[in-house]
């Protein structure tokens, strides 16, 4: 059995206590996407300001409520993608979900996750790796991925 310290690393609690990029952006020009965790009731809104010409994330703001894991993951996500190209943001999404899914996929029986490992290759997750402990608490994986799924949905909505 994993201990609480595996889940709640110091850096996670730090992001939880001092979340980065909290707030809202004016819509439009910004784009707003809402995400729900149907299990616990957490909700997150991701505001994206994409520079069409350069295809970069000019600004990102986050609002909503959630547990320490979902708040910290959201905060780290916003830090990680702000200023990045959309392509890089998508790479990060894939990498982070791979980090979570290798284990989640075991829970849900989708194979051993070998294919997912490829998504992690060569991507530097930095702080985000602190969230790796979450995979030992399967129910909490959805807390950690909520913001990322919402970001992905937002990028998809803007592109299409």
């Amino acid at each position: 059995m994993a201990g609480l310290e595996d889940l709640y690393r110091e850096i996670i609690l730090d992001h939880y206590r001092s979340p980065r990029n909290r707030g809202e952006l004016v819509v439009p020009p910004a784009h707003k996407t809402e995400g729900f965790n149907p299990l616990c009731g957490d909700e997150v809104s991701v505001y994206l300001d994409i520079d069409e010409a350069t295809q970069t994330v000019r600004d990102i703001k986050i609002s909503g409520q959630g547990c320490s894991i979902s708040q910290a993951s959201t905060s780290m996500m916003s830090d990680a993608v702000k200023g990045q190209s959309v392509a890089e943001a998508r790479r990060l999404i894939r990498a982070f979900k791979a980090l979570m899914s290798i284990h989640e996929s075991k829970l849900e029986g989708e194979g051993d996750g070998a294919d997912l490992a490829a998504d992690l290759d060569g991507v530097r997750l930095g702080d985000l790796e602190a969230l790796q402990g979450v995979v030992k608490f399967p129910v909490r994986i959805k807390c950690a991925t909520l913001a990322w799924n919402t970001l992905q949905q937002g990028l998809d909505e803007i592109n299409t």
């Binding site: 609480l4 889940l7 206590r17 009731g41 409520q65 547990c67 894991i69 979902s70």
Partner: protein, 410 residues
């Protein structure tokens, strides 16, 4: 007479389990209850001794299976004060019971311009079926709001019921523990010509119930919350209503005759029980009723009142205003479900720490998102009691909460 909880605990095999080296402290009975040996044994016996399909076989084990199945129906019917066993329809759970009413009685009787009255404290099971109907038929949904004391605000009840066809209300809130004044609400509905559907999921397991005294029209509940198995629940409805309602699911058992171009329906309650039913689950449901009766519903309620009082006091003494309780303070109008939040700590995080100590409580929206929005929170933690909980369980909860508060202290 006070319950001998130590003896009761020993009758529930799961409660002997350890979690992370700690004896389990199961405080999530509002979500689902644990099962006594008596129920598990009854089901096992049925599978080993007289398992066969019901209402079909001429042979002996089929007769036994049918007799046990129908005996369980009578037990459940009697337990809730039904005057006729034919008023008791077996379904999968309370959710299906409510949907059955929405698909049959409501779709046969409600249309554009009609109104249904709900409350802000309903479980999704008593909200979404009516929203589906509203979307499909243009039926209006009206909402009874909540007071700051977490009770229903009935000041506009007459206006809300004016012209309404149905009142849907929970007898006890699964989040707040609030016990609603069912008899009064039913009478008000009837005075306005509306029928009343009672979601008694949280009530029947804990408080002696008499549907005739309630004068209700429809009552929904689940076996898994009253020491019975998963996979079975019941809809009780007045006989005339059941007889007039169109069928719900089509198939075997619910028919009298089938030809290529038409079918006719069987008598109630079988008219609403298409296909092979949850046979052994029904028998387990009956065994759970026997078990509850052997303890006594009045004794269970008494015990839970005392335990809830003890818990509310203990939480207040230890945490004061740092821990907010969402639910009535008056023990006379509340059950043993206590929702709470630490200031600044999310329910999910608190509950995770509690699990480390073997204390099982629920965190989340408790399938009552409209209520959570009224409360202004995304989630609460909820501890809930049953006859097998005691003061020691409450003490463990408090101790674990102290640890959680410390862990997340800024």
């Amino acid at each position: 007479m006070a319950l001998d909880v130590a003896r009761l605990k020993a009758e529930f095999p799961l409660l002997e389990r350890e979690i992370n080296g700690n004896p389990i402290v199961y405080l999530d009975s509002a979500s689902t209850s644990q099962k006594p040996f008596a129920v598990l044994d009854a089901m096992d016996h049925a599978y080993r001794h007289h398992y066969a399909n019901v209402h079909r076989g001429v042979y002996e084990i089929a007769e036994l299976a049918t007799a046990e199945f129908e005996k369980a129906r009578r037990k459940v019917a009697t337990f809730i004060g039904a005057s006729d066993w034919r008023e008791l329809v077996f379904v999968r759970n309370a959710t299906e019971a409510i949907n059955l009413v929405a698909y049959t009685w409501a779709r046969a009787n409600l249309g554009a311009g009609d109104a249904i009255v709900l409350t802000h404290m309903e479980h999704h099971a008593n909200v979404v079926p009516w929203q589906m109907l509203a979307n499909e038929r243009g039926v209006e949904l009206r909402w009874i709001p909540m007071t700051p004391e977490f009770t229903l605000d009935l000041s506009d009840l007459d206006t809300l019921l004016d012209g309404a066809k149905l009142l849907c209300v929970s007898a006890m809130s699964n989040v707040l523990g609030t016990i609603n004044p069912v008899r009064e609400l039913v009478a008000a509905a009837h005075a306005h010509g509306a029928l009343a559907l009672i979601d008694a999921c949280q009530y029947i397991p804990h408080i002696a119930t008499n549907v005739a005294e309630w004068d209700a029209d429809f009552v929904a509940f689940s076996a898994h919350k009253l020491c019975g198995p998963s996979g079975i629940g019941a809809l009780w409805a007045r006989l005339e209503l059941l007889e007039a309602m169109p069928p719900f699911l089509g198939g075997g058992e619910m028919i009298r005759d089938v030809r290529l171009d038409y079918f006719t329906t069987n008598d109630v309650p079988w008219k609403f029980e298409a296909g092979t039913p949850a046979i052994v689950e029904a028998i387990g449901f009956g065994a759970a009723i026997d078990y509850l009766e052997s303890i006594g519903m009045a004794e269970i309620r008494d015990h839970e009142i005392k335990l809830t009082e003890y818990a509310l006091d203990a939480l207040d003494n230890e945490f004061g205003d740092r821990l907010k309780i969402y639910g009535p303070a008056d023990i006379a109008i509340r059950g043993g479900a206590i929702s709470f939040l630490f200031d600044g700590i999310h329910a999910h995080d608190v509950t995770q720490v509690l699990d480390q100590d073997g204390v099982c409580v629920r965190a989340g929206h408790h399938c009552a998102k409209p209520l959570m929005r009224q409360l202004g929170v995304p989630a609460t933690s909820r501890a809930s009691f049953y006859m097998y909980n005691d003061e020691h369980d409450v003490d463990c909860l408090v101790k674990a909460l102290i640890r959680a508060e410390q862990f997340f202290a800024l």
